[in-house]
């Protein structure tokens, strides 16, 4: 135990650059918790100040002043190698070309260019990576029977949650179905509270009474177990926003299975009739439990299901696509131009819930295609900026090897 402790505390010293080691397990944990921030993006400032490495030595270059420099004081060998080249070539902001969205009853769609600052990039990445790790941990805990009940995991779809949150304000409202852990996180609940809730503990966000499907936060209305039931609720929240004239809107999410529920169409009708500021988002992950979309729906163009409501179909694996599309939809709603239906094409890596193995032979080729486009892959090595980000990304996950492999695929 003492050897282990020494080993770990030495590793911690190397990582953090401190000289004093931890003598006890609690000191070690404190040290680790200071270094690894598990707070939600709601408190990014705190996370940032603790994460950002100390200022690097000045580089004599004309363009140096324009570039934020990454620390060279990290002990990791890879970082040292990277630090030896000049960061003066990297910019704090870059513009990506993103996929064009399919439009329905719309003349213009979301922008095909997305601007991304370094801070935003790191924040989206941190969010998605945290959600991924949290979901995989929940999987593990469920198999250990520490989490009981039902558990619907969101891994694979992280770009949707991160993109939606990036496009709306904290004061806007959001409601979704039962695959809600990621949205609970993006709406401001800490990972600790989410995991406590999953384990049915008092420290959970719903005091342990709700479990996986019933987590709530200010301006986040859950977490709803009954399929499709949240959609009329979302329309109602949008009505409240309109009535109160506070320039807020409601993002109402549902899945491809729920798209066949009757109450959705009732909600669409009311929203369109009264021009409610509601963004209806269908997270089409191709399967409602075990039934594929084509076998459950006469029309799999979920973005057109609103009939008289305009629709956009978006690549849900690209966080910037999602962000731009939701931003476009939000602007439309705030301008009073009524509801809009969006379809985010995405994929989940787990089965429907923990009791669904989610592995079927014929799904593999299909699944492989989606995994190649996985949502954490949006950084490509084609930009100098990216290499800078790679090093910064290392500071988020020093114990993972984030090598410059194509697609930046991370070990999951």
């Amino acid at each position: 135990m003492q050897n282990m402790l020494t080993l770990l505390s030495n590793a911690l010293c190397r990582i953090t650059g401190r000289t004093a080691g931890a003598q006890t397990v609690s000191e070690l944990l404190i040290g680790l918790s200071e270094y690894v921030s598990l707070t939600s993006p709601a408190a990014p400032d705190l996370a940032q100040t603790q994460r950002l490495p100390p200022k690097p030595p000045p580089v004599v270059s004309a363009r140096a002043s324009a570039a934020p420099l990454v620390s060279t004081s990290l002990a990791a060998p890879a970082a040292r190698i990277t630090a030896s080249c000049s960061f003066a070539d990297f910019t704090p902001q870059v513009t990506f070309d993103i996929k064009k969205c399919d439009l329905y009853r719309l003349e213009d769609g979301p922008s095909m260019k997305a601007e991304l600052t370094r801070e935003q990039g790191l924040q989206y990445y941190r969010t998605m990576q945290t959600v991924r790790r949290m979901e995989l941990k929940a999987d593990q805990l469920y198999k250990q029977k520490i989490i009981r009940g039902f558990c619907h995991l969101y891994d694979g779809q992280e770009a949707c949650a991160a993109g939606v949150e990036a496009a709306i304000n904290r004061s806007d409202h959001l409601i979704t179905a039962y695959r809600a852990h990621a949205y609970t996180y993006t709406r401001g609940v800490s990972v600790k509270e989410i995991l406590c809730e999953l384990m049915g503990r008092r420290g959970g966000v719903s005091k342990g009474k709700g479990g996986s499907m019933h987590m709530y936060a200010p301006h986040f209305y859950g977490g709803n177990g009954i399929v499709g039931a949240q959609v009329p609720l979302g329309a109602g929240i949008a009505l409240a926003c309109q009535y109160q004239g506070n320039n807020q809107l409601c993002v109402t999410l549902y899945g491809d299975g729920a798209a066949n529920q009757g109450q959705l169409f009732e909600a669409f009708n009311m929203a369109a009739l009264w021009k409610l500021p509601c963004i209806f988002i269908c997270e089409n992950n191709q399967y409602s439990m075990g039934t594929s979309a084509e076998r459950a729906s006469a029309s799999t163009d979920y973005y057109k299901r609103g009939d008289y409501i305009p629709g956009i179909r978006v690549d849900g694996m690209d966080v910037l696509c999602v962000r731009e599309a939701v931003k476009f939809a939000a602007d439309l709603c705030r301008a009073g131009k009524g509801p809009i239906v969006m379809e985010l094409q995405t994929y989940r890596y787990h089965g429907h819930s923990m009791s669904d193995p989610g592995v079927r032979k014929w799904m593999w080729p299909f699944g492989r295609r989606w995994r190649r486009q996985h949502s954490l892959r949006w950084l490509t090595p084609s930009h100098h900026w990216t290499t800078c980000a790679t090093t910064s990304l290392k500071t988020i996950h020093p114990w993972r090897s984030v090598g410059p492999t194509p697609g930046l695929s991370l070990s999951l």
């Binding site: 009981r148 009940g149 039902f150 049915g200 342990g208 066949n260 109450q263 409602s288 075990g290 459950a296």
Partner: protein, 378 residues
């Protein structure tokens, strides 16, 4: 168990003027009971047990229906559906995910055997499923609709109550949807929480025109399901999901029926009548055993089987004999079906008798993730 103890404490002091019933003698029961349940005030705080305890107790092997085979509950349902599809060429089974076998394996192999036009999936729309089922039944085909969990039956509530139940009446018997049977997994399962544990039989008990049936075991399930399918009224068949794997019995492989609206006296007794249905019957059997061992009290356990229309006669006869009644169910106690039984029996009770009726049911809150053990097992 604590509820039974409370009942006996009160029962000691209650008048039982029905002839032929012996009152419980005032022995040292009182102090013993007080030790067992420290707070014997039944109406202020609910007694709660903090450990889930339930053992399935199989019945004797039935010999009157032909050869038997070892089956659990879901296999007995599959067997019943198999019998139906083979004997009735108009029968169809539909619901969410039934094609591959269903989330509880109740329809395994049926699609391969009978074809995809007879066993097929519907989209995720309970109201649509039941409405569609009513249409199928009205047109003359036997429709067996599956609702994936009883908790999801509420979107279909309007269709069941306003359409299915009233079809025959409003058309003056010109049309009916008697060929419709709706099956749904029902009841506590230990980890189901709010939306996978509900027992909605009381909601439907309030609706004339349908039948509501809850079996307690595989043998009962197959017979009752086949009766529901054969019955000329729309039926809702609730299957206790915790028994799907836990309940194993020797079940007849051939077609057989068990009469609806007939309660079964599972254990004879003389001091108190215990009524339950579904999983709770096994809990009551254990209670009866414990009462006999620890208190020397002889309990008569009745399985109601059909909730609507329920067998008033059997229950009345039993209460006339014992003078005391305890009804227990998983569903919340307020407005639970025990209230109906209790008030009917109070009204019907034999000449001048006021049988002591008590109810033990679920709490007044939805199922919690962590406290499923407390729900209905008090």
């Amino acid at each position: 168990m604590a509820a039974a103890a409370r009942l006996f404490l009160r029962g000691i002091h209650s008048k039982c003027s029905v002839s032929g019933v012996s009152t419980v003698p005032r022995t040292s029961f009182g102090p013993r009971l007080l030790k067992l349940s420290p707070s014997c005030d039944p109406y202020t705080k609910a007694q709660r047990r903090h450990a889930a305890h339930f053992t399935f107790q199989p019945d004797l092997v039935p010999t009157q229906y032909g050869p038997t085979q070892k089956m659990n509950l879901f296999q007995s349902i599959t067997s019943a559906l198999d019998n139906t599809l083979s004997s009735d060429p108009t029968a169809v089974i539909f619901g969410e995910d039934v094609a591959f076998g269903g989330v509880f394996r109740c329809t395994v192999g049926l699609r391969d055997k009978y074809g995809k036009d007879r066993v097929f999936n519907t989209p995720l729309c309970e109201q649509g499923i039941v409405g569609f089922g009513i249409g199928v039944a009205v047109a003359g085909a036997t429709a067996i609709a599956e609702i994936q969990f009883a908790d999801y039956i509420y979107p279909a509530f309007d269709q069941i109550v306003n359409e299915a139940a009233k079809y025959r009446y409003r058309s003056g018997n010109l049309f009916d949807c008697g060929k419709l049977t709706i099956r749904a997994p029902w009841g506590c399962v230990g980890h189901g929480s709010l939306y996978h544990s509900q027992s909605p039989e009381a909601f439907f008990a309030h609706c004339p025109g349908i039948k509501v049936v809850v079996p307690r075991s595989p043998v009962q399930a197959k017979g009752l399901l086949l009766s529901c399918i054969a019955d000329n009224n729309p039926c809702i068949f609730f299957e206790p999901k915790i028994l799907y794997r836990a309940a194993v019995e020797q079940v007849p492989t051939e077609h057989y029926t068990i009469t609806l609206s007939q309660a079964e006296v599972v254990e004879e007794g003389s001091d108190v009548t215990l009524i339950a249905w579904g999983t709770q019957v096994h809990v009551m059997k254990e209670v009866a055993q414990m009462a006999q061992e620890k208190l020397g009290v002889s309990c008569e356990v009745i399985d109601l089987r059909t909730i609507l229309p329920w067998d008033v006669e059997t229950v009345c006869k039993s209460v006339v004999k014992t003078g005391r009644l305890l009804i227990s169910h998983e569903a919340p106690i307020t407005g639970g079906f025990a209230a109906e039984i209790s008030s009917t029996i109070q009204g019907h009770g034999g000449a001048g008798a006021y049988p002591s009726c008590h109810r033990a049911g679920g709490g007044v809150h939805p199922e919690l993730v962590t406290s499923q053990s407390q729900f209905g097992k008090s």
